[in-house]
């Protein structure tokens, strides 16, 4: 008879939290994700919703593909290039065409999930970990975009664009370091 585990973080559900916090506590994943949330917040509401949905679906696909990969250097390069692209677009601060926005969301979420899942330890339940990752990704993007959408003050908008420029700048530096 299986014993009842009162603290399920010690069992399978711990992998779910690991997935969520892997997104929330890694600056190299959180910073560009926040930039994506800002870009979503600068779009029309319908486009923003579609971007969120696309991100989750692409994240799932990217995660499934990423399971087959080991930790490779080019994956870090992809991550930091997302810093530059998303940061620059957040700094740009204007609406972009919906097909481009959706493609961006899909590419980013797919690549991020790929990164999260690459080189995963074998004792980690990948299905539960991936669901945590996707929830973390969707939550951060949704909250940040809600903040950007709901606070129309020009100073808040400027602050978000400045954040985007910081992320882009950091991406440039990290790409130079990774390529060194």
């Amino acid at each position: 008879m299986r014993t009842v585990a009162l603290h399920i973080v010690n069992t399978e559900l711990g992998h779910f939290y690991a997935g969520i916090f892997h997104v929330l506590l890694s600056p190299d994943h959180l910073l560009p994700l926040a930039a994506l949330g800002i870009i979503m917040g600068f779009q029309e509401k319908t486009t923003a919703r579609h971007m969120l949905l696309t991100a989750v679906i692409a994240g799932l696909a990217g995660g499934l593909y990423g399971r087959q990969l080991d930790n490779q250097a080019w994956l870090a390069y992809i991550n930091f290039s997302s810093f530059v692209v998303l940061g620059a677009l957040a700094a740009y601060g204007k609406t972009i065409k919906p097909p481009i926005a959706l493609s961006l969301s899909a590419l980013f979420a797919g690549s991020q999930s790929m990164l999260h899942m690459a080189g995963l330890p074998s004792d980690l339940s990948w299905e539960i970990f991936l669901s945590g990752v996707l929830l973390g990704l969707a939550s951060v993007a949704a909250v940040i975009s809600a903040i950007a959408l709901s606070l129309p003050s020009k100073w808040i908008r400027l602050a978000l664009r400045i954040y985007g420029s910081w992320v882009a700048a950091l991406g440039l530096l990290m790409m130079a370091l990774t390529g060194k």
């Binding site: 600056p27 700094a91 420029s165 910081w166 700048a169 950091l170 440039l172 990290m174 130079a176 060194k180």
Partner: protein, 209 residues
């Protein structure tokens, strides 16, 4: 770096309204380096704190970054958002050159010169064509970034270090912009002029000192 107590007394003694005191204090507080080291940082924490402190504890960097914000306020219009949005990116280009080991002659001289030139621009409240202002600031941004970038690979956490110095730079811009907004207030224009003179003299000190 510690600031003399008399500096704070001087600020409080000047005859300004309560509201204006608050508006001056907030950006000035951004300049106070915090020396609370209750926790010995390692890894991410150490990288972030050393990156954050690098522009702040380097007076030549700090005055130039303040001057960028001050000048942006004086130029007004689009400059108010163009400078803080584009400066980090241009600085990062210089940083990438530093990381790649691309030699840039006279980095320290250019950094000192940036203090002199930008300080003078702020002191005289220069209003050149915006493209000229952006070009000048961009040129100096490359040199500042190069200086930061050469130290980045040695940091314990390069990502955190980079985030730290970009954040510190941005906060100093914002502080400069907030102080610079005083140039629109009739009794407080001297604050901006005095800041420009101080920055220019600091630049001269580093250039010839």
């Amino acid at each position: 770096m510690k600031y003399p107590f008399w500096l704070f007394l001087t600020i409080f003694r000047t005859r300004i309204t309560k509201n204006m005191k608050r508006s001056i204090l907030l950006p000035l507080m951004l300049l106070i380096p915090l020396h609370t080291f209750a926790h010995a940082e390692t890894g991410l924490g150490e990288g972030f704190s050393s990156g954050f402190l690098h522009p702040i504890t380097g007076l030549d960097h700090m005055v130039a970054m303040l001057a960028v914000g001050l000048w942006g306020s004086i130029l007004g219009g689009q400059a108010l958002w163009i400078l803080p949005v584009t400066f980090p990116i241009v600085m990062a280009i210089g940083g990438a050159m530093g990381i790649a080991g691309f030699p840039l002659p006279g980095v320290e001289t250019a950094i000192a010169l940036s203090g002199v030139v930008l300080g003078v621009m702020v002191a005289i409240k220069a209003q050149p064509p915006h493209w000229l202002a952006y070009g000048l600031v961009g040129l100096f941004a490359v040199f500042h970034g190069h200086a930061h970038g050469t130290e980045l690979p040695a940091a314990s956490s390069p990502l955190a270090y980079g985030l730290g110095f970009i954040l510190a730079t941005g906060l100093m811009h914002i502080a400069g912009i907030l102080i610079g907004l005083l140039h629109e207030k009739p009794g407080l224009k001297w604050v901006v002029t005095a800041a420009g003179v101080f920055i220019a003299f600091t630049g001269l000190f580093f250039l010839f000192g």
